[in-house]
């Protein structure tokens, strides 16, 4: 149990660090969120009356007489209540609304793609590692090359090829906007259809890493003594591969999976940009471009909490799949 207590302690510290980082970074950024709104107003024509500007400043700006520490405390309080404030770029919408609207898309697309890529990588890595030394091994470098290609470049090229030229996939968007939003078959299949190409590019560019990690661990695992025992026991090859080699070799990958979620979420920013996919990635970019501190903080926090949560989950799960962690350390 103390193992878990320790883990949870770590996550609390990490969460606190993220919250604090989140508090300070936007405050150090240049520019002023009000300018964004003023620019929007100006775009409608006309110059903006100083009084109007004042009014917006009052509306958006925190009370500047408060000390930084007071601001920090009230920020923590607000965050704990789930109140991230008002988004400037989507004024007067609340940050939670804006995120709530975008988050499911990112979770589904990026989450699914990552899981697929992870599972695929593990599977292929198992096979390649098991047949180490065969021709399959020479395929391994090729897959890591895919990971060395700039992700957005690959995505753009694929989109140009498969969507624009061959018309196999829709070019843009997360679903056919003519359809009714909801849990109907038509809409879901449209969403799946639209998500295929973005997911594919994520899978292509990330599967190599998993494959390689798994393959290397398989090679290491195969030379362990218990593999010899397993063979001497007269177990069937498939059973040895799955239950003895792959199961043990997958442990580091599983531990790395949650950590990699952080990278994955980062990737979503680019994915969404390339495919005009509705998700938090675009929102984050929009927030940064518009000095939308509140939205930035909200998204960053949501991402961090999601990643932390996933890590926690994997950590807790890890205690189950790797009994060694439960007692030692």
């Amino acid at each position: 149990m103390t193992y878990f207590a320790r883990k949870i302690g770590f996550y609390l510290v990490a969460l606190w660090a993220a919250l604090t980082l989140n508090f300070f970074i936007p405050r150090m950024m240049p520019g002023n969120p009000v300018d964004t709104l003023m620019a929007k107003l100006q775009q409608r024509g006309g110059t903006v009356d100083p009084a109007a500007r004042k009014a917006y400043e009052l509306l958006l700006g925190a009370d500047r007489s408060e000390s930084l520490f007071q601001q920090y405390v009230s920020y923590l309080g607000n965050v704990l209540r789930g109140d991230f404030g008002v988004s400037v770029s989507a004024y007067p919408a609340r940050v939670s609304e804006v995120i709530g609207q975008s988050l499911p898309w990112t979770i589904v697309l990026v989450g699914m793609a990552t899981l697929i890529s992870f599972a695929l990588g593990l599977l292929l890595g198992t096979v390649v590692g098991w047949r180490r030394g065969s021709w399959l091994d020479s395929v391994v470098p090729a897959t890591t090359v895919l990971a060395a290609v700039p992700y957005f470049w690959l995505a753009l090229v694929l989109a140009a090829l498969l969507s624009s030229t061959l018309h196999w996939f829709p070019l843009l968007g997360g679903y056919d906007v003519a359809l009714q939003l909801g849990w109907n078959r038509e809409f879901i299949s449209s969403a799946v259809y639209h998500g295929t190409l973005p997911a594919l590019t994520i899978v292509i560019s990330s599967v190599g890493g998993w494959l390689l990690g798994m393959r290397n661990m398989m090679v290491s695992t195969i030379s362990e003594d218990y593999m010899l025992t397993a063979r001497a026991k007269g177990l069937r090859n498939r059973r040895i591969m799955v239950r003895y080699a792959a199961r043990n070799a997958a442990l580091p990958s599983i531990a790395g999976f949650a950590t990699s979620l952080g990278f994955v979420v980062s990737g979503s920013v680019v994915t969404e940009q390339v495919f005009s996919y509705p998700g938090v990635g675009t929102r984050l970019l929009q927030a940064v471009q518009n000095n939308d501190y509140a939205l930035m903080q909200g998204i960053f926090l949501v991402i961090t909490v999601a990643v932390l949560g996933a890590n926690l989950l994997v950590d807790l799960l890890y205690g189950v799949i790797d009994p060694r962690t439960r007692t030692s350390h």
Partner: protein, 335 residues
């Protein structure tokens, strides 16, 4: 840029002591040791990797001496490759080759800077923490774990937004990328240092009266070199890719020329839509080739770090050779 998984992650989880202790090595590995063990074994993979990396590095280093000013604007607009402009020109008639050469240099510079800084940071936090133990270790490892789980790119985006633009050259971007990119390596280094710290030769050095810093630098560090090299290589790849991603989002080193900014301009100039492949493809290809070269080098480094991998490689080569031999035999008997 999403998920190049540090290939050495596998190592960090292996319980300390499995990969160490020469006793655990197969007898053949015993023959190699000392400094020579730090050199990768020669293989076609390594050859191709080194070839690519050296070629691209030279391209970026001496290329600028042979090409003109990449910013020169010509009235010819977008033209496909020709004798005069080997890779064609951009929308504003700038020579793509000249731009590519300069951009390559810029990207390499960022990659190198980040590689050095991130490796130094990870060494600092990983090795020192791991060696010192106690509170310092707890604090360092907590810090790097926190840095690790906090998602990088959003942080980079936010931080790079905070850097004043007139300073947002390659240096700043490099610093930002390094700050957000050292944690994973530090964890691996720490695990490795922990296992080295318990090694008898470290104890022996202490018994001989060596100072702690000397124990770290002379006894521990050399044995971490392959790992450090692999992490350096990895962070260079990651830095170049991340910089390209940032630039693509318009948050990169806007005032210096890198492959990322070049792609960004190509993208904004509708290079893909105009089918101006000569503008859009080369930067991507250079990044991919460079990353690929580094990845191939990393394969060889992996084999040093984890000698069991080397066995697998040998096995393949020998198997191929054996295959050839039997083939020869069967052919000769058939004759």
């Amino acid at each position: 840029m999403t998920s190049v998984i540090p290939p050495d992650r596998a190592l960090e989880e292996s319980p300390p002591g499995t990969g160490d202790g020469t006793a655990a090595l197969p007898p053949t590995a015993r023959r190699r040791g000392g400094r020579r063990a730090l050199l990768p074994t020669w293989s076609p993979k390594l050859g191709i990797g080194l070839g690519l990396v050296v070629a691209i590095a030279l391209f970026g280093l001496i290329g600028p001496l042979f090409t003109g000013d990449p910013d020169t604007i010509r009235n010819i607009g977008l033209t496909p490759p020709s004798g005069e402009h080997l890779l064609g020109t951009t929308q504003t008639g700038q020579d793509v080759l000249a731009q590519l050469v300069h951009a390559t240099r810029g990207s390499l510079q960022i990659g190198l800077l980040v590689g050095v800084m991130a490796t130094a940071l990870s060494a600092l936090f990983g090795i020192i923490g791991g060696y010192a133990g106690g509170f310092a270790d707890e604090a360092f490892s907590l810090f790097s774990n926190v840095m690790l789980v906090i998602p990088g790119l959003p942080l980079v985006i936010v931080i790079s937004g905070f850097v004043p633009a007139d300073q947002r050259g390659s240096w700043t971007i490099a610093v930002v990328l390094a700050i957000t990119g050292w944690a994973a390596a530090a964890r691996v280094l720490r695990a490795q240092t922990l296992s080295l710290r318990g090694r008898d030769y470290v104890a022996a050095a202490r018994v001989a009266g060596e100072k702690p810093w000397r124990v770290i630098c002379v006894e521990i560090l050399p044995n971490l070199l392959p790992l450090l090299a692999s992490q350096f290589v990895f962070s260079v790849i990651a830095a170049i890719l991340n910089e390209a991603g940032l630039s693509f989002l318009g948050l990169g080193a806007s005032n210096s020329s890198t492959l990322g900014t070049m792609l960004y301009f190509a993208q904004n100039g509708f290079a893909l839509q105009r089918e101006a492949w000569w503008w859009f493809a080369p930067p991507g290809v250079v990044i991919a080739a460079f990353g690929c070269g580094l990845a191939l080098i990393n394969f060889s480094l992996d084999e040093i770090i984890n000698p069991r991998l080397r066995e697998a490689g040998r096995r393949r080569r020998a198997a191929a050779k054996a295959g050839r031999d039997t083939e020869r035999v069967t052919r000769s008997t058939a004759a």
